[in-house]
Symmetry: C2
DNA sequence: GTGAAAGCGCTAACAT
DNA sequence: ATGTTAGCGCTTTCAC
C-alpha cells in the first residue's frame, strides 16, 4: 500500500484531459451538454468514460467564477420554524433543483440588521437572485440590488418601494370570505387581531377587514400586533379580557399563530371557543386541523407560491420576463370547528 | 446622463488597489482581519476607506477557489415540513453564521436516489462539510466522503456504517420514561407504533421498547411503519381497529407524527383518547400542546442538537477534534393530556 | 473538431 | 511593510 494523501483527491478537468490525451477545453466541451455538439462523437464518448472512471466531479465554484453565475438563489425568510415557510421553501426547491439551481435559505427573525447582514453575505456568495419573504426590507437595500441588476422576487409579501415581481395569496378575498361567513353566523361585533402593519399582508388584511365591516355596518375593532406570533396574539386578547370589557363575539386573526394565541387567552379566561367566541385564522398552516377546536382558517397555497416565485425569478434571470409581474394565487375558506353561531 | 452598463458594476480588489495606488495583495491583506497586522496601520485605514467608498464587496466564490474552502456546509434532511427539522436547522445556523459559514439545506424525502443526487450537487459546490439527518445514507456514499476527507456529522440519526460523529437525543431514556409512566397508570398491554427500522432512531426506540416490556413483564407488541408520518400511523392503527381485535390500552408512538395518526384513527373508530386508549408521542414538536388532547410526549432538544452538530463539524474541519465523538443530549417526559389510567 | 492562451477575483509564496 | 508572481478549476475566444 503506497502513501496517499488523506485529503481530497480532487480529479480536475486537466487530469481527465491528460488521461484522455486531449486538451482541457475539449473535455469541458464534451462534458457540457450545451457544447457537446462541437466535439466529435467518438471523442466525447471516450472522454466521458474516462471522466467517469477517474471519478471526476465538476467544480461548480470554479465554473461560477468563470461564467459569473453561481446557480445559487438566496431565499430570505423571517423564521423557518413558522410553519408557513417550509412549504414555500420546498416549493421553491422543487422548481429550482431540476434546473440546476440550489437555494440558500436565511432567517432574519424580522430583524432589519440581521437581514442586512445576511443579504450581504448572500451577495458575497454571488447568488444569481433573491426570493424575499420579509416585509421589513426597505428601500435602501432593495434599491441597491435594483441598480446592480440583481434579480429579486417577493413572495408572500410585497415590496414596499421598488416594484419587484411578487407572488401573494389573495388576502383581500380571504378576509371577505371570513367576514361573510361570520355575518351568516350572526356576528355583528368582530375583533381583528391584526398582523404587523409594516408587512404588506398585515396591512392589506386589516384594511380589507375595516372596509368590509364598514360596508356591512358591523362593529369592527382592530388591534395591532408587533409580530405574527402566538405570544402576541395571546397578550393582545389577555389585555382586553383582563379589563373585563368584551363586546365582540368573534375574532379574525391576521394569521393562524395569532389565532392560536387567542385560543390560549380565551381558555385561561374561562371562555370557550367557539361557544362563547368564534376565532378564525389565516394561512391554514399544518396542524391547524388538529388544534382544539379544529381551526377555521383561510387556505393559502404556500407551496405553489414558492414554485411560482422561483419560476418568476428564473425567467427574470434568463431575461425572458422583464415586466414586474404580480401574481395573486386564490385562497379558500376552510370551515372547521372554531366558528359557531353568535349567541 | 452617460451610458452605463445596467449589469452589476462589481468592484474588485484590483479596482480598490488601483484607486489606492497599492497592490491588490495589500488590499487583500488589509481587508482580512487575520492578515491585517501585516499592513501599516495608516495604509490599512486608507484602503478600508476607499474600499467602502467604492462599495467593494468581496467575492466569496473567488476566495473559495483559491483557499479551497467554501465556508459552506451542506445540511441533508428528509423533509423541512416535518416540524422537528426547522429547529435543528436554526440551531445549526446559529452556530455557523457567526463563524462565517453558511448552510445549504436539501430535502431528500427519504428517497435514496434523490439523496445521492443532492449530496453530489453539494459536493460539486465544494461544501466544507456535511450535517446529515437522514438514516438512509448507506455505506457506499458515506465511505466516499470518508476517503475524500470530507467531514460529516450525523444529527438525530446515527450512521449505519462508518463511525461519524453523531448528535442524538437519549431515546432509550425517553422510551424508558414513557413505559414507566404508563406502568404507573396501570397499563400492561402496550402497542408500539415503531418508526422505520432503517433509521437508527426507529430501531433504538423499538429495541428499548421491547426490552423494557420484557423486563417489566408487559405485553408489548411492535408495529413497524415505513415512514415517520401521520398517514402511516393512522393506517397502522386503522388496520388493527378494523379487525376489531384491540387488546392494548396504550400506544407508544415512534414520533409525534405517528402519534397524531393514531389520534385520527382512534377518533374515526369512535375511541377516545385518553379515556379508552392512552397515546404517547416522541419529540415534543411544535404545537403538540395544542392538539386535542394535548399530547404527552418526550422532549428532544432539537435546536441544541443542531448547535452541537455544527460545533462538532467545525471542530472537525478545523482539525481540533479527530475522534468520532458521540454526543447524546438528555430528554424529558412531558406529561399532558393524552395519557390516563388504564381502565 | 481541437488546441493554445487568457482570465474570472482572489490569496499565498516568495521577493524586496 | 509592500510588490510580484503564480495559480485555484473552469470556460471561452481565437487560432489552426
Amino acid at each position: 500500500m503506497a502513501y496517499r494523501s488523506a485529503m481530497r483527491n480532487r480529479v480536475t478537468l486537466a487530469d481527465v484531459a491528460k488521461a484522455a490525451g486531449v486538451n482541457a477545453a475539449t473535455v469541458s466541451r464534451s462534458l457540457n451538454p450545451a457544447t457537446e455538439g462541437q466535439v466529435r462523437k467518438e471523442t466525447a464518448r471516450k472522454i466521458k468514460k474516462i471522466a467517469k472512471d477517474l471519478g471526476y466531479t465538476p467544480n461548480t465554484v470554479a465554473r461560477g467564477l468563470r461564467t459569473r453565475k453561481s446557480l445559487t438563489i438566496g431565499v430570505v425568510i423571517p423564521d423557518l420554524t413558522n410553519p408557513i415557510f417550509p412549504p414555500i421553501v420546498r416549493g421553491i426547491d422543487s422548481y429550482l433543483l431540476p434546473r440546476g439551481y440550489s437555494a440558500m435559505v436565511v432567517n432574519t427573525d424580522g430583524n432589519k440588521e440581521i437581514e442586512q447582514t445576511l443579504i450581504s453575505s448572500l451577495m458575497e456568495r454571488q447568488v444569481d437572485g433573491l426570493i424575499v419573504a420579509t416585509g421589513h426590507t426597505e428601500g435602501d437595500l432593495l434599491s441597491q440590488f435594483h441598480e446592480r441588476g440583481v434579480k429579486v422576487v417577493m413572495v408572500n409579501r410585497e415590496s414596499p418601494g421598488i416594484p419587484f415581481p411578487a407572488v401573494t395569496s389573495d388576502d383581500g378575498a380571504g378576509i371577505s370570505a371570513i367576514i361573510e361567513h361570520l355575518v351568516e353566523l350572526g356576528h355583528t361585533n368582530i375583533l381583528h387581531l391584526a398582523g404587523p402593519s409594516d408587512s404588506s399582508t398585515g396591512l392589506l388584511r386589516s384594511k380589507t377587514f375595516s372596509s368590509e365591516c364598514k360596508k356591512r355596518g358591523l362593529v369592527g375593532k382592530v388591534i395591532k400586533n408587533e409580530n405574527y406570533s402566538i405570544d402576541d396574539g395571546q397578550a393582545a386578547i389577555d389585555k382586553i379580557l383582563d379589563h373585563g370589557a368584551r363586546t365582540f363575539t368573534a375574532i379574525v386573526a391576521g394569521n393562524d399563530l395569532l389565532a392560536l394565541g387567542a385560543y390560549h387567552s380565551l381558555r385561561t379566561h374561562g371562555l370557550r371557543c367557539p361557544d362563547d367566541v368564534s376565532v378564525v385564522g389565516f394561512n391554514n398552516m399544518p396542524f391547524t386541523a388538529d388544534f382544539q377546536p379544529p381551526m377555521t382558517t383561510v387556505n393559502a397555497p404556500h407551496y405553489d407560491m414558492g414554485v411560482e416565485a422561483a419560476r418568476l425569478l428564473l425567467s427574470q434571470i434568463d431575461g425572458i420576463d422583464s415586466a414586474p409581474v404580480k401574481v395573486t394565487l386564490p385562497v379558500s375558506l376552510i370551515l372547521r370547528g372554531s366558528t359557531a353561531r353568535a349567541l
